[in-house]
Symmetry: C2
Subunit: 392 residues, 2 copies
């Protein structure tokens, strides 16, 4: 038995972790654009990265080091340091070399525009503003935002039966280039649980599939996607089941918040697919739905156009027939196994559900027991506005 | 040697073909919404249909008949007769049974809203307005439009060396639920060439891959996609190479017109991918580009954001590295094999290209000889407007 208690302290919830955000002048008007996470003892690292073949310089910089411990993560927004080649990796080394001597094997993470070299002098000057004794998790979470409209944090204390406890805390950012095929965007998780690197990585890999990898804003996969989990083992406590549950709760919360804050999004929709041939086919259908432009625009229009949902199920490639398919908006069933009963009254009821900020679209394929839950948002004018002129 | 001469007569270009469009009251304000194609002798049929598992009733109705000849195609817009189950197929039989006795084994094709039974009485009354001696190809092409803003037609006379000749003419419609994974939307092609059903089908299958299947508006695959080729052999002439060339020209023209007229589209972009591991990988990259929301919104914003193109190439799954990639907008090269040289002057030049109605984005992956050309459009406010409230 164990208990999860929610905390407000984000990446500083775990013992020995410090964080803050500062302004290095990358964003206009003095907005925070650089953050650090520091642990006063070295940390084990588990991480998952983008599968994009154009992986950004910070990811190359991390991977080349093999297995190592660190006590410091430097994060900047506004510039992704992607498509910058060998020079982009050298830039990271030069920036990290200017950090104070208490920092051991620091890693860097970036998000923002692709194809522009880092403004190195600004970042070096910005890093000089860091005070490693500060615990300002909200400022750190704000500094890593790009087109996000709010910051995303979550933390738990896990209390075990024997009176011991450990903590897990996290911060993440969205809000565009978010695609369900892999670990998505930037997420940093800190813990003082006493867990081995190998076990931590295994739990992270498993939980990423049903959280960040189930979330989609626009079906585009970034060059910089990173989920990083740091453990300094300071609590001396661990409980695998409790750790996994807390981690999944945190990651699912952040993944859903990312989608809720998707560029221009006004609705968070859960796609609950059941009755598929197997879980893999359910996943294919759920992700096809969360990425369909016609479904996303119908959501925005609050139009219960279930025909588009049926068409997307049919186009997904998964086994499906209209005779076995059932579609519901929350508890309003709009199509059931070949029966057409969608009249004006039912349309009004379904439209009522769609007015909510958050609801579930269920598709039962009626074939076998495969199931998957994916998270998506609508697509409206604001998405076009944000993305038609992102760089200016 | 042979010569292709362009004609204005659409699906009536070939000898013995008649067509017209009428208003059956499905569209408001007396707009044409029903069309026919009639041949005064029976026709061989070649056809490709959607791979959507929720294939519409007209497609089921066609497929159940096996191999047959016909002299009549009835087409309606505004209602797709999809997700209507067995009843939808029976509706077709009942409508077709009311046609005049000169009509043999008629087929039906529909496009429009999914999940609503056909207004049978309106369609039966509409069919009574058909005059099978009329040749009004433009009216027919207009009657099959849904959200299209212009009709799409193309026809050639093919003159052979021996003085004989034959004709191929076509009409098509777009403009949403258009996806590159298969034969797309409605296209009807008529010919008086003396060609066997089997040979015609083989040529059609081959040409569909590089024309309609290379076009994308929104990555959504309709329940009703149909390309149908009817031959009445009245010319007694045939030349395989000439027939294939004319067919490809017609289908490529119509596919590109469909994309140009994509819902809300303001630009037609050709994605020319070369240097891929093989043609299949080039196709994967070209289609990933034509479907990327971030690329499409950058096109709309006329923003030469080549980083999004690089990221999409990297996310496509195809073999690629930044050191070998080259990206150009028409003849303006913006990124070359790891070199960053994109400055303000170059950005201005690339932005100039993007102001055009039609241009080419080239990606040379620098790996081997695989190549593919895909056709896509931008995504702007108008797409959202059209699709957020399509049914009202």
């Amino acid at each position: 038995m164990y208990k999860l208690i929610e905390l407000e302290s984000g990446v500083c919830a775990a013992d020995g972790f410090f964080a803050n955000g500062v302004s290095a002048g990358l964003k206009p008007n003095g907005a925070k654009d650089m953050a650090f996470i520091y642990s006063d003892v070295p940390c084990q690292i588990a991480a998952t990265f983008t599968t994009n073949k154009m992986a950004a310089a910070p990811i190359k910089h991390f991977k080349v080091k093999g297995e190592f411990e660190t006590n410091f993560v430097l994060i900047n927004s506004k510039n992704a340091n992607a498509m910058t080649g060998r020079a982009g990796v050298v830039d990271i080394d030069e920036i990290l070399a200017t950090l104070p001597s208490c920092v051991k094997s620091p890693v860097m993470s970036s998000t923002g525009v692709i194809g522009v070299r880092l403004p190195k002098e600004k970042l070096i000057a910005g890093a000089k503003l860091f005070n490693l004794t500060q615990r300002e998790p909200h400022a750190a979470a704000q500094a890593i935002m790009t087109t996000d409209s709010f910051s995303k944090e979550k933390a738990y204390r896990v209390e075990l039966e024997d009176g011991s406890s450990f903590h897990i805390g996290a911060m993440a950012k969205g809000a565009g280039m978010i695609n369900p095929a892999m670990a998505t965007m930037l997420c940093f998780i800190t813990t003082d649980a006493k867990v081995s690197r190998k076990e931590m990585q295994a739990i992270l890999d498993e939980k990423v599939e049903v959280t960040f990898n189930a979330a989609s804003v626009d079906g585009d996969t970034s060059t910089n996607d990173t989920v990083m989990l740091l453990s300094n083992a300071k609590s001396n406590a661990f409980h695998k089941e409790a750790f996994a549950e807390a981690l999944e709760k945190i990651m699912k919360f952040l993944a859903r918040e990312m989608v809720r804050d998707g560029e221009g999004a006004t609705k968070l929709v859960t796609y609950n697919v059941t009755g598929a041939k197997d879980d893999r086919e359910a996943e294919v259908v759920a992700k096809a739905l969360s990425n369909s432009l016609l479904v996303k625009t119908a959501l925005y229009g609050e139009d219960p156009n279930w025909g588009r949902i049926a068409s997307t199920v049919g186009a997904s490639g998964a086994e499906a027939t209209e005779e076995l398919l059932t579609i519901s908006f929350d508890d309003v069933c709009v199509y059931k196994r070949g029966e057409l009963f969608f009249d004006a009254a039912m349309e009004a009821k379904a439209a009522e559900v769609m007015k909510k900020d958050s609801f579930t679209i269920s598709c039962d394929l009626g074939i076998a027991d495969g199931s998957f839950e994916a998270y998506g948002c609508d697509l409206g004018y604001k998405y076009v506005e944000i993305n038609a002129d992102y760089r200016t």
